[in-house]
């Protein structure tokens, strides 16, 4: 079992360091590069949601990200934030059939995340938002 944890302020400037943290974990855990994308996407979508909406009216909101991978290549990412309580899994599903004039990307980020992950769970844990995202990655690097 490989685990890594980091903690950043809810500021858009922290997005690049968070992605570097994910990349470092991915290579340390020897996970296949081809399977990193859903986690990079989920990290950006969830983190930017906290930055843009979750920290409205609050100061010094922190976001903690914990990554782990077990021997069966089950990867788990837990994102905890002290922002306004919000369950993204209850957000309305965007209409992906609407004509171009009526399209927006509101809600599309979390819809992408739910679709690309195997399992996404939300809890309001000790007054914090806690999102747990899981996906089993396919083959290992050596086989590629």
């Amino acid at each position: 079992m490989k685990t890594a944890r980091t903690d950043v302020g809810a500021d858009a400037a922290a997005l690049a360091p968070l992605q570097s943290f994910l990349c470092q974990f991915w290579s340390d855990a020897d996970l296949p590069d081809a399977d990193r994308f859903p986690f990079e996407l989920a990290l950006e979508e969830v983190f930017m949601n906290v930055v843009m909406h979750g920290s409205t009216g609050l100061h010094d909101v922190r976001v903690a990200v914990t990554l782990s991978a077990d021997e069966d290549r089950q990867v788990e990412m837990v994102i905890r934030d002290g922002g306004n309580l919000f369950n993204p899994l209850q957000a309305p599903v965007p209409d992906t059939d609407a004509p171009i004039e009526a399209r927006s990307v509101g809600g599309l980020g979390i819809h992408l995340v739910i679709t690309l992950m195997d399992d996404v769970r939300y809890s309001a844990d000790g007054g914090q938002n806690c999102l747990t995202l899981r996906k089993r990655v396919a083959a290992d690097n050596r086989g590629a």
Binding site: L41, E44, T96, I100, V105, H111
Partner: protein
């Protein structure tokens, strides 16, 4: 993210290279809107070459939407081509293939915007 431009056969092509994330989205949107305006004035089509675009998030998708809308409003033929696996997955899940012409390669894209051989 880097973007290079070229114009040939009455077609302006933006080659999108790297990661289109929240950070890159603002700059790419300005670039694409300016390219669509210039193409409208010159009677050109606009293509986006995505063959080196490794990553797109919902913030990046929004730029494709804004660009496609601007092109439609200005009667500028518009298409994207050569999506990488990750970017294609995002387009598929979000249904963007139903509102933006997505072609497999440059030849298909040129044909789609009426610049085929």
């Amino acid at each position: 993210m880097n973007v290079t431009h070229d114009t040939a056969q009455k077609t302006t092509t933006l080659h999108a290279i790297g990661r289109l994330d929240f950070e890159a989205a603002g700059g790419f949107q300005k670039d694409l809107e300016a390219s669509v305006s210039a193409a409208a004035a010159d009677g050109n089509a606009v293509l986006i070459d995505c063959s080196a675009l490794e990553y797109v998030s919902s913030a990046g998708l929004r730029v494709f939407l804004v660009g496609a809308r601007a092109a439609k409003a200005a009667n500028v033929p518009f298409a994207v081509y050569a999506l990488t696996a990750s970017v294609k997955e995002v387009f598929d899940v979000s249904g963007f293939g139903r509102i933006i012409d997505v072609l497999f390669d440059r030849a298909g894209a040129l044909e789609k915007v009426g610049r085929g051989a």
